[in-house]
Amino acid sequence: MATVGSGEFERSTSLLQDALAGRRLPRWGVGAVGLTSLLAAYLLNVLTVVDGVAGTFLVAVLLFVIGQTGWSFTVEGRRHAVDRLATTTVYAAFLIAVTPLVAVLGTVLVKGFPVFSAQFFTTSMRNVSPRSEGGGLYHALIGTLEQVGLAALIGVPIGVLAAVYLVEYAPEAKSRRLSSAISFFVDVMTGVPSVVIGLFIYTAFILTLGLPRSGFAASLALAILMLPVIVRSTEEMLRLVPRDLRESSLALGIPRWKTILKVVLPTALGGIITGAMLSIARVAGETAPLLLTTFLSQSINSNPFKGPQAALPTFIWDQFTSGTDASRARAWGGALTLIVLIMILYAGAKVIARLTGAKKS
């Protein structure tokens, strides 16, 4: 400390003063710069230097960044200028991310809603040519509900049981290697492309076992896609169950499996159902595996084990690639139906999470 020269000491004091009570931009500074750059960009637009709404907006943002950073640099110094630049960038990143979300949902709503009618939901595409209007997605709706339901029937029990193994049995098991392998491959499985899962079901069940392409084959693929999501969410929920609960139950002499079935799982039930619903929402819109494992169909078939069965994603694919105005309109109607279905599942999951979340504490 003694080696610090007096000049250096003074400089660091003034630096400290700047940091604590240094000159800052006025509170209205950001708004003023923003407004000015918008006006300037508008002027440039009027003077036809730039054109288009997007271009004008981009120029305004650019002017804002330059103006604010420059002003801040002269008044507050380099560090605060960089900080303001970073803040603007982070806000911009968020706006950039929200824009497509709004655009996608808006497009689906605007293009899909005009198709909605009672007929659209109660009839199939049987004897309706791609060129003509009318027809509906009743057959696809049935197919999706059955295929996704079957997938959940297969995927949820296996996923929950695997999670029970990882949380309840693995810590004391002799071979930790098995549980860590399962845990690792559950993570890796999340990243396997859905089209590869479709290929697997095709090669294993259709080529090798000789089963026909059917709604059931599709639900097998969807079940595999759901599995890692269910395992992860269930695992997380089981770990939240307090140790005391398990120990009190075991101390009362209740067998391990009954403790899990009647104490641990009921406590975590809300979270498990939420996770399962989210995984269902995730696979409901999967198209690629269905294209490989089912045949497109225009008629109602409520038996997923026999014959071609339509589903919402393949209905959308079929109608969209048919390429006529009428069929594309139906595709957008199907897209809106699919999104509404997924949103219902999402909202349901959130409601269940909220209802049961209160009980947890």
Binding site: R79, D83, A97, P100, Y169, V192, V196, F200, G285, L292
Partner: protein, 329 residues
């Protein structure tokens, strides 16, 4: 709890047998076995996927008269069969690279915004709305990319051609800007954005409060705090988030299949129509493929499976290697 109902019936015998040890109950064995089987089923599924894809792709390898890795054409049902994955690998790689360049910075920015810039009450809503983006099915992104985004990308494509045309990838000799690798990359970027931002957000919120406050207390601005306290701690998480996003981009099928005009050629002019990817190729050629064609598509699926497997294993490896950093509060 419902289990208290069991109490009067069994306390004495179970307690004594528990103390004596050797208390292997049949119910326990069965339930334990069941849950173990469920766990093993997951491992089995993964190995069966590899096994069946290898087995069913062998026939196409034996009849292929061209080099599988360096050929661009895809005519497996012709006699003699000629097909290869060069163009598919090129298209897959390029769309994914474009997606990564666009999505990684934006995704990390979104994660920062939600975890450390936005108002606390707002951030829950914002996190939910980016999750919604992840819930939109791939086919809807494809339709949106084709009908909404493509017309809006025309201007950008022309601008890139006019001002940056001296760089080959931005040049466009055809004057057509639809159905291109560039548009597919942009749509992929939007689709992997939620993956990247959700995972980065998770690591950002795990940064110990103490590190952040220490940095701020030393007079750091918010950005300096982010660079000193958050980024070093979250770096492995950010890298693996980006890798997982890459994995998703590599395997994305339907959106790309709708947007690209499938042509198996290698074209460095990204804004021109054309190009194809592994996954899109499978979806587009599936229904018209003969037996060799199916086998060839399965072979290309095997390559895709291996690539995504490697990407995911590396990403998960990075996370678990730095597991000691997690929850260090």
């Amino acid at each position: 709890m419902s289990s208290t109902r069991e109490l009067p019936a069994t306390p004495a015998p179970t307690a004594s047998s528990g103390i004596k040890g050797k208390s292997v109950r049949r119910g326990d064995t069965v339930f334990r076995g069941l849950s173990r089987i469920a766990g093993i089923a997951i491992l089995l599924t993964m190995s069966l996927i590899a096994l069946f894809l290898v087995w069913r792709s062998i026939p196409s390898f034996t009849v292929n008269t061209a080099n599988f890795f360096t050929t661009s054409e895809w005519f497996p049902d012709q006699t003699p069969p000629v097909f290869g994955i060069a163009a598919l690998a090129f298209g897959t790689l390029m769309t994914s690279i474009i997606a990564m360049i666009l999505a990684v910075p934006v995704g990390i920015g979104v994660a920062l915004f939600i975890s450390h810039y936005a108002h606390r009450r707002m951030s829950a809503i914002l996190a939910f709305s980016t999750d919604l983006l992840a819930a939109v099915p791939s086919i809807i992104f494809g339709m949106w990319g084709l009908e909404f985004l493509t017309p809006h990308m025309q201007g950008l494509g022309q601008w890139l051609n006019d001002y940056l045309g001296f760089i080959p990838i931005f040049r466009n000799d055809l004057g057509q800007y639809s159905k291109s690798i560039f548009i597919a990359g942009v749509v992929l970027a939007i689709m992997i954005l939620p993956t990247i931002s959700a995972l980065s957000r998770e690591v950002f919120t795990q940064v110990p409060r103490g590190n952040i406050e220490a940095s701020l207390a030393l007079g750091a601005t918010r950005w300096e705090m982010v660079r000193q306290a958050i980024f070093p701690f979250a770096k492995p998480g950010m890298i693996s988030a980006a890798m997982l996003g890459l994995g998703r981009a590599l395997g994305e099928t339907i959106a790309v299949a709708l947007i690209l005009s499938a042509s198996n050629s290698i074209n460095w002019h990204f804004t021109e129509p054309g190009g194809n990817t592994f996954a899109a190729n499978i979806a587009l050629r599936w229904n018209e493929a003969g037996s060799t064609g199916l086998s060839a598509l399965i072979a290309s699926g095997l390559v895709l499976f291996i690539i995504t497997l490697v990407v995911n294993v590396v990403a998960r490896g990075i996370i678990s290697r730095h597991a000691e950093f997690r929850g260090g509060n």
